[in-house]
Each structure stands twice: as structure tokens, then as C-alpha cells.
Symmetry: C2
Subunit: 318 residues, 2 copies
């Protein structure tokens, strides 16, 4: 069996732990197509937060408490940069993390595409699955905000981390997405997939930028493989993070039904066939989707594996 997972950062990474566990049991191959909309260049370093979260988490190097970055991280370089007055100071740039960014930046500067760089970094982390960026091109999430009556677009990281998603926000823009091509390997993986899973990542700023690459969306929407999503919302609250604030920006109700409707049914121009919601949301209906309910808390790898098995079952491939 070949499983493709569309994934953002932390939630996506944790979901992938379960996917990998199931894949090892059933002998499946897993490819993660990871959001690059959060990627940013700071202090001359190319930073890919979602790819790194996936790589560190699957490689056993992630901080389980904080959720992002490396376990045992230190912050010397960050403090020194601040001592120089080098902006920005609001981004959590750890010392261990910086080595990853240095290797990546150097390889990108040498002309390697992000997919090849990610491959090289994964040589160390051995994530046990194939990790692909959604695109090797620039697909950068910006938030169009109003500050003191002035409308401007700021990078998603600035919106999210510096302003904690608290600015009046008109919309999100995925800069470059329209002309971006899928990274090497993405279309092949989707074409060969027996099932596509949408991780319980932020639907607006993690999954949407992946699907904003036209050929990715088309391959998912029109491919032979069934597509099943796992709701990142339980009741009216995100499992983690600030998906509620992002959903508010795009005018979608923060609920399993709202997010299911946002993705939409493949039969009606959307991307999903099935939708897994939490047991507390049993009874939720989304037009055109097969909806199943079961516990969705990813408390550990076993619980997450059970969610993955349920998703495969909704897809009819288990």
C-alpha cells in the first residue's frame, strides 16, 4: 500500500508518527507532502518550520514539551543576535536548529532544490518515510492586515508569532502559489497513491497552501486514490494551535462541519471523499462526504495509529 499524507507542522508531524507506525505494521510506503507556506528567511537563514517539525519529530529530535524545535535546545545565537540589535528578535531561532538552517541555506545557495535539500537533511534524521516539500518554488503565506488604518501584507510568521494572530486580518495570500509547480516526486507519489490522507493540520494555513499549488490540488482532486481528512477541530476548538483564528479570517465556522465543508467533497469540486471527526462530534454531516466519528486525541503513537487505521477504513483501503 502507498499512503500520501498532506501535512503541516506540529499536528502533521504527530499524525505522521501514527501513519508510520501503521505503515510498518502493514508494510506500506508513506510519502508526506509538507506545507512550505510558513517558510521564511531570517538573518540570512532559510527556515522551513513545517518540514523541520516533521523531520525532527519522526527522527526523534523534536522537543515533545514545546512541540516545535529541537529537544535540549539552547538559544545563544538568538541572544547574541539581539545584542547586535539584529531584527527580528521575535522568532524562536535555536542553536541546534540553526545548524539545520545553515546546511539548508548553503545547499539552496548552491542551487539544489528544496526537495533535494530536504532529502539530504533526512539522511541524518532517517524519518522512515519520504518527506517532500509541496513545492520547490516559493509559496509563501502572507496575511493581509490592517494596522493603524493602513492595509498591508505581512509574512505569516510575523502574523502568527510576533502578533499572535491578533491583528485585524482581511485574508491570507499564498504568494507564488499560482505559478508554483509541485516539488520533484509529489505528482508521482500522488499518482501512485492508494490513499491520500489530510492530516489534522491547520486547514487554512497548513493544508490550503499545499493545495494552492494548482497541479497538487488537481492531482488530489482528480486522482484515483480516495482522500480522507482528519478533523483538526474537536467541538468548536482546535486540537492545538490557532486554527480558530485562521478560520475566522476566511469566514469558516470553527467546527468539524465547517472545516469539512471548507475542504469540500471531490464530487462537488472539493478534495475529500471521507472525513473523520471526534466521537464527541458524532452526527456531523458534510454534503458529499462519508463522515465517521471516533476518538481523535493524538495522546500517543498508539492512539494516533488507531486514528490512522480508522481513516484508512473510511477510505476503504484497510
Amino acid at each position: 500500500m502507498r499512503i500520501v499524507v498532506l501535512a503541516g507542522g506540529i499536528g502533521g508531524a504527530r499524525f505522521l508518527l501514527g501513519v508510520r507506525a501503521v505503515a510498518r505494521e502493514v508494510g506500506a510506503e508513506v510519502t508526506a507532502v509538507v506545507n512550505v507556506g510558513d517558510d521564511v528567511t531570517l538573518h540570512g537563514l532559510r527556515i522551513c518550520p513545517d518540514l523541520d517539525s516533521v523531520m525532527y519529530t519522526l527522527g526523534g529530535g523534536a522537543d515533545p514539551e514545546r512541540g516545535w524545535g529541537r529537544v535540549g535546545e539552547t538559544w545563544t545565537v538568538k541572544e547574541e543576535l539581539a545584542a547586535y540589535g539584529a531584527e527580528p528578535t521575535w522568532f524562536g531561532l535555536g542553536d541546534k536548529d540553526i545548524a539545520t538552517h545553515l546546511v539548508r541555506t548553503r545547499m539552496l545557495d548552491a542551487g539544489y532544490p528544496l526537495s533535494a535539500v530536504t532529502d539530504a537533511l533526512c539522511d541524518r534524521w532517517q524519518p522512515g518515510i519520504r518527506v517532500l516539500p509541496a513545492s520547490d518554488d516559493r509559496v509563501e503565506t502572507h496575511a493581509v492586515v490592517e494596522v493603524d488604518g493602513v492595509t498591508k501584507a505581512i509574512h505569516f510568521q510575523e502574523w502568527w508569532i510576533r502578533h499572535r494572530a491578533e491583528l485585524p486580518t482581511q485574508r491570507f495570500v499564498f504568494v507564488g502559489a499560482e505559478t508554483a509547480k509541485p516539488a520533484a516526486g509529489v505528482l508521482d507519489a500522488l499518482a501512485a497513491a492508494d490513499v491520500v490522507l489530510v492530516a489534522p493540520s491547520n486547514p487554512v494555513v497548513s493544508v490550503a497552501p499545499i493545495l494552492a499549488v494548482p497541479a497538487v490540488r488537481e492531482a488530489v482532486a482528480t486522482g484515483k486514490a480516495p482522500v480522507v481528512g482528519v478533523s483538526p477541530i474537536i467541538g468548536t476548538a482546535p486540537v492545538r494551535g490557532m486554527a480558530d483564528k485562521c478560520l475566522a479570517v476566511v469566514g469558516v465556522e470553527c467546527s468539524p462541519a465547517g472545516v469539512g465543508g471548507l475542504f469540500g467533497a471531490r464530487s462537488a469540486g472539493g478534495v475529500l471523499d471521507g472525513w473523520l471527526v471526534d466521537e464527541s462530534d458524532a452526527g456531523v454531516e458534510v454534503p458529499g462526504l462519508t463522515v465517521h466519528a471516533r476518538p481523535l486525541w493524538m495522546t500517543d503513537e498508539a492512539a494516533t495509529g488507531a486514528i490512522v487505521r480508522a481513516a484508512l477504513s473510511v477510505a476503504g483501503v484497510s
Copy 2:
């Protein structure tokens, strides 16, 4: 009084502590013209070891034990880079140090010349003197070595740190020096100088690359200011470092007379008027130079200040 000092890294930095102390007493202005021949780009970071040694030492941030780098340094990024297999692993790249290199690299990439970048970094360190790179252009010291019968040029840092100056070496080359221009401010400082001091730095790979910039050498050799050097050799041994190995490469005796002769008298096409040697070397003569002898061990700032005062006295400006 205006004092210009030609300086390399560690020895130059310590000498400058004494120059600054004397300058504060007598109300003099000090400009250090610092070697850039050791500069190197590693892991995408532009590293200027001599400028940093001067800046950190005068700014109170240097490690007094190790002599180079920052006090309280940590090595997380270096270890992580090695874990990725990212070469080279032999260079001592500290976490605190990396912040300096990140700021520098970012500013250079934005188009600022090294002199402007150094100025910006000194905003933090407040060295109390003006710190100028010898050139904003590339002047890079390479060693022409023989390895397994093959002659090749390697960067000075690789020769010095990786191979500990132990390869059979034909000569040093200052790549780019012939067409390099003095950095902004260097010629003005030399033209306005009342005295030029040559710090007890490595004559072959610290002072020579400064003087390899044609207009710098001409300004020093033909300027109105007297030029006095302080011997980096006491007896037949360098005060610090591996000057003996470098002198051997250029076929110069490792002695105060040898180094004095290497610099040569301005009256005979060289760059010095006076030469300060250690008291144990009293009686040394160098054709065309006024040679004075006195204790040359820079044991502390007071001792170093006394050396500086002696050098000013040899120059006839104190």
C-alpha cells in the same frame, strides 16, 4: 596625536589594548588597520578572525584563556553541523561567534562593504578605537603546499588549523591583493597619522597581507609619519603562535633581526624606521633601522602600554 596600528589577530588585539590605554592617557586617536587575509567563508558564513579578535578583545568579550573567540563560548551549532556531516569540521565555530558572522554575512550580502559592516558590529563592542579592515576587497592568504607529490593552494585557515602548519609549503599567496584597494578610511588615516606602529603580529601572514595591498604599502612606506615595529620574536621563538613556521616558508630567520630585515628600512625600500626588540635581544642590528631593546612580554595592559610608549619614543613622537 593620531596613531595608526597595523595589526593581525590575537597578538595585534593584545597590543591594541596597550595602545588604547596610552592613547587615553595622552588624548590620542587610534586607528587599527587589520589583516583580512585570514578571512574565510565556511558554512555560508563570512568569518573575519582578525577583525573579530580585535573587536572582541577591545570590547571585553574575548576569551582570555584561549586567546581567540568569545568568553563563555559554546559549540552547539558546530556539533550539529558535524552531525549533518557538513564540512569542514576542523574550524572552531562558536555559537556566540556565529551571531557575529550571521550579521556580517547578511550585511555583506546586502551590499555593504566590510568596513561598514565592521563599523556596525563595533557599535555593539565599542572598542574605543577605530577598527578598519585593510581592504574591502578580497585579499586571501593561500598556502602553496605539496600533498602526495601534488602542488596545490589551500586557504590559510586550512593550512593553519586543519594541518597545523605542518605541510611541506612552498610559499604564501595573497589572492586578490594586487588589485585590492585600501578600505574606506585607511588611506586618510595613514595620511593623517603622526605615527604608524606595526603590532607584534605574525609578520608573514598577518602584517604582510596588509602591506600586500599596493596603496597601503605605498602610504606606509612613503608617508610623513615615522613607522615603528614591535618584534613578534623574542630570541628565536615567536611570542605566540606559529610565526616560526611561517618565517621558515619564506626563508627568513626566526629572530628579531630576521623579521626586522624582512620588513626592511623605509630608506631602503622597506616599511620601518624603528624596531623594538626584547631586552634579551639587546644589541641586535638591522640595516637602516633605529633598534631599541626593552621588555616585550605583553603580560598585562600596563606592561603592553609601556611597550607602546617605548615604540612612540623610538618614533620620536612621545
